[in-house]
């Protein structure tokens, strides 16, 4: 059933195959078009299920693609385009949420996970070392050992 819901959403909203950029939208400047595509891949199609506007055929996605291209043609930087779109549609439109207090846990998870894991492993090894018999012998063992050693020495003589 994987992709089923997404597929359903496409069908419901797009009523047609999922088709992204249309030929009439494409900018003449390939470098600018490349930037437009990269930005589009990070913007959510607001009426779709987990689709970027670059992948979606929905009317709203098309409008957003055109807006992105208009801003780029007017000379905005990538950041300015993003800010413009976010100001209009809210952070919901970003497929990669910004680094903010609210999203700390989201962005922190990989680091926290690694840190916790490494700490646990560190303590595991330290505990083991503590639990392992100390390398030095106790007085009793030392005595026993020297007795055995002297025995063998006696025997070899």
């Amino acid at each position: 059933m994987k992709r089923f819901l997404a597929a359903l959403a496409i069908l419901m909203f797009a009523m047609g195959a999922a088709h992204a950029v249309n030929p009439d939208e494409v900018l003449d400047d390939p470098a600018l078009e490349r930037r437009a595509r990269d930005i589009s891949a990070e913007l959510r199609c607001l009426v779709c299920q987990n689709q970027s506007i670059d992948d979606s055929d929905a009317e709203l996605a098309r409008d957003l693609r055109v807006i992105v291209r208009e801003r780029l043609v007017e000379g905005d930087t990538d950041e300015e385009v993003m800010d413009f779109v976010v100001a209009r549609y809210g952070e919901f439109v970003l497929l990669k949420p910004r680094l903010s207090a609210r999203n700390m846990l989201l962005w922190g998870t990989p680091l926290i996970g690694l840190a916790l894991g490494l700490t646990a492993i560190f303590f595991l090894f330290r505990m083991r070392r503590g639990a392992a018999p100390a390398s030095g012998l106790t007085a009793e063992e030392q005595e026993k050992l020297s007795r055995i050693l002297s025995d063998t020495e006696d025997g070899s003589r």
Binding site: R3, A20, L95
Partner: protein, 662 residues
């Protein structure tokens, strides 16, 4: 009448599942041998009852019995037979029935093949399986009954969602469920071990083949689903980090970690507690996946709230099993004790690194998938977490692990020699680097990252066979001697080699298609030719056709290279008449490992032009060929002698030889 029998069988299955839970458990607790001995037979009976119910539902689909609500909603008399059958699990009720059927199948298999288990452990495992079967059979009967009748019965059904009428989808859900539900066995073993308070290397050896089997199915299922999405959804993507995909990916990651930690436990009795926890987590994530997909919580929180019965019940089941298991774990895990000691640089240490990265990756996917729900629940704000987030977090996490993989099998248990392993690997590292550089040289303007990626891919691919190469004694030993030695290798060594090589192959495919893919979007009229990656693609025109339950416009493209014809590609746009739904059928031509992928857009009004999307996807099939290698590796490992023979406790001497052979 037959439908009522099916319904009855489902009720019977629920009753039997209650017995399956209670009788073996009481038997073990009171030491009643007769009750313990009953466990396998009840497990068989539950499976038989569910198999009957499932057969009846399938029969209703095949014979288009439109007095059943479920059949009306998801079938059509004109639908091809294959899709009538696969339609059984193309909907909520039917797929849940398949889910419990597979659960009961695994329970019956433990009963069948578990004769070498201690009877009390087997009974306890069967009892836990019974509890899961009880919960989900009850869920089906009370909230999602597939045998509900409809009166008066309509003459025709609504047809199955056309996008699901595909061979890929015929195989994908059963494979996925065999994987998901397969992890229930390791879960039940973990719970049984916690209840009995005893766990040892033999336990790990019993659990491992089940985990491995589930992992094989899940690997195949995910790869299958990925390829299905690639050709059926029509925009040439192969992984979308969609929540539904993540739902199947998380158990896979946790299951992969479990496979590796169970190895440590089996060989060295170390990481016991951790292995138990992973076994619980792998199945918990499977349950979570079922909840996410089945409750509708992902589509929108509102959809979930407007019809919360199903979602709430699954959530309750989820909380019961995960919460209960973790509670039991907290209570009992300390009694399990620690195992053998090892140095950080050792085979165990390598497997621990694998576990560290895979669990962190699982956590990342988990948080990324659920964060929007969490934020909305807490603050009411809506945010999106999509592919760019996962690309930015998951990929950097995996790179160190991928680099470390070839070292693992070359390190000795207890205390390894990293320098020695490096010495044995430098040839392979050299080959990988050369391959990366060659890529930069041939693909002018290749991004540096792509070269690094390709190098990592080859490093994994060749490094995977370093252990086999070393054991063969080549090139010093002669060919005959080497072949003799290779034949004597434990199959698990080959399993590891193939599975790790598969990882390399996937990496190569992903990097290649990401970095070197070519894409074109243009309008074409009949007779127009365009250039794509050195091929000339000519649009010849379109014509209409009729299928069994759809009409379609098929376009014909001639592909040629240096004016030699190469292939004819025929993408289509279909309209499924019963639902009035359009779909796109991509046209694909495979050459070597690469593909030319054509999808049709809309016709341009007032002209004979049509919008055409063409892709050149270099080495794209490696993405699915890699999982095939992994599955082969898994099968090798599954057929290893020590798993086939069962799980006798090896004598100290034999254990030493085994460890030496590894």
């Amino acid at each position: 009448m037959i439908v009522e029998l099916g319904h009855y069988a489902l009720v019977l299955a629920l009753m039997l599942a209650v017995l399956q839970t209670v009788i073996p458990f009481v038997g073990v607790k009171t030491g009643n041998a007769r009750q313990i001995a009953m466990a396998p037979n009840i497990a068989f009976a539950v499976f038989a009852a569910l198999a009957f119910a499932f057969t009846v539902l399938t029969w209703a689909y095949v014979s288009s019995d439109f007095s059943l609500l479920n059949v009306v909603e998801n079938s059509h008399s004109q639908k091809p037979l294959l899709f009538k059958i696969t339609g059984v699990w193309g909907n909520h009720e039917g797929s849940m029935l398949l889910w419990v059927l597979i659960l009961a199948l695994f329970g019956a298999m433990v009963a069948l093949f578990g004769s070498n288990l201690p009877p009390s452990l087997r009974a306890m495992v069967i009892s836990v399986q019974g509890l899961i079967a009880m919960a989900f059979t009850g869920f089906i009967l009370f909230t999602s009954n597939p045998f509900a009748r409809l009166s008066p019965a309509p003459l025709e059904g609504n047809d199955l969602n056309p996008i699901l009428q595909d061979v890929g989808l015929a195989i994908h859900p059963p494979l996925l469920y065999l994987g998901y539900v397969g992890f229930s066995i390791s879960f039940s073993f973990a719970i049984a071990a916690l209840i009995e308070g005893r766990i040892d290397a033999a336990w790990a050896r019993w659990v491992r083949p089940w985990t491995l089997a589930a992992w094989i199915f899940l690997t195949a299922g995910i790869a299958m689903g990925s390829y299905w999405a690639y050709y059926e959804l029509g925009w040439g993507g192969w992984w979308f980090w969609d929540p539904v995909e993540n739902a199947s990916f998380m158990p896979w990651l946790a299951g992969t970690a479990l496979l590796h930690s169970a190895l440590v436990m089996e060989k060295r009795e170390a990481l016991k507690v951790w292995t138990i926890l992973l076994a619980i987590l792998a199945f918990s994530l499977s349950l979570l996946g079922t909840f996410l997909v089945r409750s509708g919580v992902l589509t929108s929180v509102h959809a979930f709230a407007s019809d919360p019965t199903r979602g709430v019940v699954i959530l309750a089941i989820l909380v019961f099993f995960i919460g209960g298991a973790l509670f039991l774990f907290a209570l009992r895990s300390s009694s399990l004790g620690n195992g053998g000691m090892f140095h950080p640089i050792s085979r165990e240490g390598g497997l621990l690194l694998n576990n560290l990265v895979l669990t962190t990756a699982t956590a990342t996917v988990f948080v990324g998938t659920l964060y929007p729900l969490l934020v909305e629940a807490v603050t009411g704000e809506k945010i999106s977490v999509g592919a760019p987030y996962f690309d930015a977090t998951f990929v950097p996490l995996m790179i160190p692990l991928l680099l470390a993989v070839p070292f693992g099998p070359l390190l000795a248990w207890k205390r390894g020699d990293l320098f020695g392993a490096a010495q044995r690997l430098y040839v392979f590292a050299g080959i990988a680097l050369l391959a990366g550089l060659a890529t930069v040289y041939f693909a002018t303007g290749a991004p540096v990252l792509a070269a690094v990626g390709i190098a990592i891919g080859f490093w994994l691919l060749f490094g995977a066979f370093a252990e086999v190469w070393q054991k063969s004694g080549l090139p010093k030993a002669g060919m005959t001697k080497a072949i003799y030695r290779l034949r004597g290798l434990p199959r698990s060594v080959w399993g590891t080699a193939f599975a790790h090589a598969g990882l390399g192959v996937i990496t190569l495919g992903i990097v290649s298609v990401t970095a070197f893919q070519e894409e074109m979007v243009l309008r074409m009229a009949p007779g127009d030719t365009t250039e794509l990656a050195g091929y000339a693609v000519t649009y010849e025109g379109a014509q209409s056709r009729r299928g069994p339950n759809y009409t379609e416009d098929v376009a014909t493209f001639q592909v040629s290279q240096d004016s030699d014809p190469v292939a004819t590609i025929t993408p289509a746009k279909r309209l499924y008449t019963a639902r009035g739904m359009p779909t796109t059928e991509a046209g694909i031509h495979t050459t070597g490992f690469s593909q030319i992928y054509i999808a049709l857009g809309d016709p341009v009004e007032g002209t004979d032009q049509i919008v055409v999307r063409l892709w050149w996807k270099p080495q794209v099939t490696l993405i699915w060929f890699g999982p095939v290698l992994m599955v082969i590796g898994g099968l090798f490992s599954l057929s290893d002698r020590r798993l086939r023979i069962g799980a006798p406790v090896p004598s100290a001497k034999r254990r030493q030889t085994l460890a030496a052979a590894e």
